[in-house]
Amino acid sequence: MSDPTASTVTGAPGGRATSAPLLGRAPEPTLFELSHPGRRAWSFRTTGIPEVELDDLVPDEHRRHQPVPVAEVSERDLVAHFTRLSHRQFSVDLGAYPLGSCTMKYNPKVCDTVAGLPGLAGVHPAAPASLTQGWLALLVELEETLCEITGMAAATLQPAAGAAGELTGLLLMRAWHQAQGSVRTKVIIPDSAHGTNPASVTLGGYQVVTVPSDERGCVDMAALATVLDEDVAGIMLTNPNTLGLFEEDIAAIAAAVHEVGGLLYYDGANLNAILGVVRPGDMGFDIVHMNLHKTFATPHGGGGPGAGPVAVSERLVPFLPGPRPVRAESQNGTPVYEWTTPPLSIGRVHTWHGNALVLARALAYILINGGDGLKKIAEVAVLNANWIRQRLTGTYDVPFDRPCMHEVVLSVRTIKQAHGVRALDVAKRLLEEGFHSPTVYFPLIVDEALMIEPTETESPQTLEALAEALERIADEANSRDEGWMAEFPHGTPVRRVDEARAARTLIPTFDARD
């Protein structure tokens, strides 16, 4: 049999589902391998515009003579490829995702509808306020709502994520001190803090001063006293902190920091724990960022987008980024919205107005829950975490054995010492049980940390199943030999991944393959 086709049948077969875990675990080829010269999926509107020669359109010295080699695939193969990729991906919609510090709660589908409304999604960001009153009204309402929730005076909605909020907050801190005529150099951060905090401090032009945690997992007040001086611009805290513990001395901390003229920054990553219960503003914080993708359930999108609004106390309002939307004196009773830039504004921190569609999702979520519902969120989030803590006490180490807030940090230390099984092994083993892993090795101050945040949307049945799985794993760690555990996971699309090799033989693009 002659095979004149052999020469043209190049490229990976697109219509074959071997890559779907449903049916096997062969790797999915890249889109570049599925590509075949001459295929296409695109189509554009018929415009009727008379055509000009390309030579006339693009100056020759600028003209690209080879097209960018993207990929050439049919719509059918494009769909199959990304659908298959989606089958290789865990998500909240598939199962519990108790990733501590990330608040992987259920993302309501109605918010997808909101983000898709043509009247929101189809608006150009440079259109003047007169043509975008709906958006400005929405943003003002969200700002007011967030201020009520945090107990602050005003907020900027521009920052695109928590870390962006942090840096914005630090620049606010800097501008404020500057306006006071004071030059300060240091910002205090507890050793349990998230990595974005010190990174943001550096970008804010400050030096990081780390303050240790005490044996109760909270800021060591004595140590704090020793670092507090007139060089301190402020302190960054999250409360509950990254151990899931409430900083009970927060009032004293606030007093001490304010005493030396410093400001208090609140990292809102853990706001879910205290909604409607206690407010950063009432605790004495001056600057507060929120992670809307955590607390207000806007989906994490595989790593983003998020939104990190920053709310401030009265004295910091004049420094907020601008332009910001405000409700203006209404002419005929109906409010009018406009953009203003605060007098001492630190300037713009986002190309436009922030991650607007994420902001719209968050407002919808807040409206659905309402004031009462928000409090219930905190209550059940804390209830779930404490249930897990109590249930697993004795099975895993509980480094700080006291009531936690919305998340609990356990440790695999004892098990590791006895059997060599690490937090990482527990995490990988848990994948096989159908749960996403908790956050591991964070906060850094806990050895072999497992940071579990169930969130309020997981039912008691799910908690029970999670606890049973973690108990089973501990049992296995104690009874099986070390190597057995290291083999997990087995049933996932790929098994343990060689991270060292990825860094050593860096292949960041398809073209870097050899």
Binding site: Q89, D93, C102, D112, P118, G302, H350, T351, I368, V494
Partner: protein
């Protein structure tokens, strides 16, 4: 009324019993009484999905500048490009939408591989070997690029072309307050950056930042910028329009060290400015300074191809105050969307897209310039966006044109010479001849 909490009262009671607690309040005993909120949040009670949707529809209804009501001729980094059903469908798959940063690669190959493909596409567009997994938006990518450039060159002085998007320049100023970078704006002459020679400068630049095309739509001479860099040892950072890149030489071909850009054009809705997508690609030399996440290819224990986030030691969660950037949550979903949209466009579609934008731009510009008292704002060649000088203030024209059914463009405003009379106009592949003809007629009336 709305809630996503599954627990029934009985279940709550039983869980409290297990904890030995009397009430839900007891969960919060660790919170000092004095701090606790003594009243309910002053917010409305919960509402059901239909009521809240109706509320959101009200907001939406109050936006006149919706692209389904006003035909869009505004650009400036945010474009009304075609988004086909296939991109919406795939990018909306809940596995992509409701997962987080791929910390556990064994169950995150979907997002990881999509990012790997995205990185490849961005690197190819840039003509540079490495691209990251996304930054917040074009402006934040520019800020990060400048940070990288200053660190790499060891010099804090940054020459920023006045043709860079005004908002990016504002952001650079904002963040320079923290980093201490010295920003110097290099003016445009008739639309193109007039770079100082730089050779004998006593404050030689560490970084040059230039748009390609720039904010006025003009195609900058990157060769000249590169020459300044060669003379001064500065890094060349190019803010490129990735759609124009379909027809223009790549930043890499011009010798750029870093390319940044706004990736909204690839499948992301206008969305009042966000979430968008910060594109970032760089030369191999700057790899260890790359901000944000990077996905690399590797294998699993059975030797199967696998993807994982890599060079993690650059990142904030490991290097903390010494990290190259503070970014954690980025814009992955928009990166995945861009990979899908670029897959849909493909090699030929990207060229076709740029070509159609350029055709529409040429046609519109020629027609507008035939209007009385309407003049070019600058004369340098443009590709898919251009500015006009109008006899009437541009913001007035925008208001008048809205009544005629158009979002006319973006007034240049105070950042530019006589910017009050300058209007920046963008014509995407979606604009038909009929729409353009009607637009030109309306604009003729609006400036009369």
């Amino acid at each position: 009324m709305g809630t996503y909490i599954p627990h029934t009262d009985d279940e709550v009671a039983s869980m409290l019993a297990f904890l030995g607690l009397e009430s839900v309040d007891a969960l919060f005993e660790v919170v000092p009484e004095a701090l606790r909120l003594q009243h309910d949040l002053e917010l409305a009670g919960g509402a059901g999905e239909p009521d809240v949707l109706a509320r959101m529809e009200e907001f939406a209804g109050a936006n006149r500048a919706r692209s389904d009501r006003l035909v869009c001729f505004a650009g400036g980094g945010a474009y009304d490009h075609e988004i086909p059903s296939v991109t919406r469908a795939l990018a909306g798959r809940s596995e992509f939408v409701t997962s987080y940063t791929p910390y556990q690669p064994e169950v995150a190959q979907g997002v990881l591989q999509a990012i790997f493909e995205y990185q490849t596409m961005v690197a190819r567009l840039a003509g540079l070997p490495v691209a990251n997994a996304s930054l917040y938006d074009g402006g934040s990518a520019a800020v990060e690029a400048v940070n990288l450039g200053v660190a790499a060159s060891g010099r804090p002085t940054v020459w920023v072309s006045a043709g860079i998007h005004p908002h990016w320049r504002q952001m650079l100023t904002t963040f320079a307050a923290g980093t201490g970078h010295q920003l110097r704006t290099i003016p445009l002459v008739d639309g193109l950056t007039a770079w100082p020679d730089g050779g004998a400068d006593d404050d030689p630049p560490g970084v040059l930042l230039v748009g390609y095309p720039n904010y006025l739509g003009c195609i900058e001479d990157l060769g000249q910028a590169r020459a300044v860099c060669d003379r001064t040892g500065a890094l060349l950072v190019v803010g490129a329009d990735p759609v124009a890149a379909g027809l223009l030489k790549s930043a890499g071909e011009w010798g750029a060290d870093v390319m940044v850009g706004e990736g909204q054009a690839f499948g992301t809705t206008l969305g009042f400015g966000g979430p968008y997508l910060g594109l970032f690609a760089c030369a191999q030399a700057h790899l260890r300074r790359l901000p944000g996440r990077l996905v690399g290819e590797t294998v699993d224990v059975e030797g199967r191809q696998a993807y994982v986030t890599t060079l993690r030691a650059r990142e904030q969660d490991i290097r903390r105050e010494k990290a190259t950037s503070n970014v954690c949550t980025n814009q992955t979903l928009m990166a995945v969307t861009a990979a899908i949209q670029l897959g849909w466009l493909g090699t030929s579609g990207l060229v076709e897209l740029a070509r159609r934008c350029a055709q529409g731009t040429r046609y519109t510009r020629d027609a507008l310039l035939s209007l009385d008292r309407v003049e070019p704002y600058v004369t340098a060649p443009v590709l898919r966006e251009f500015a006009l000088r109008l006899p009437v203030p541009a913001d007035v024209v925008v208001e008048r044109m809205a009544d005629a059914g158009f979002l006319a463009g973006i007034p240049l405003g105070g950042e530019f010479d006589d910017g009050e009379h300058g209007l920046l106009i963008s014509v995407t592949e979606r604009r038909t001849r009929d729409e353009i003809d009607a637009y030109v007629t309306a604009l003729g009336k609006a400036v009369a």
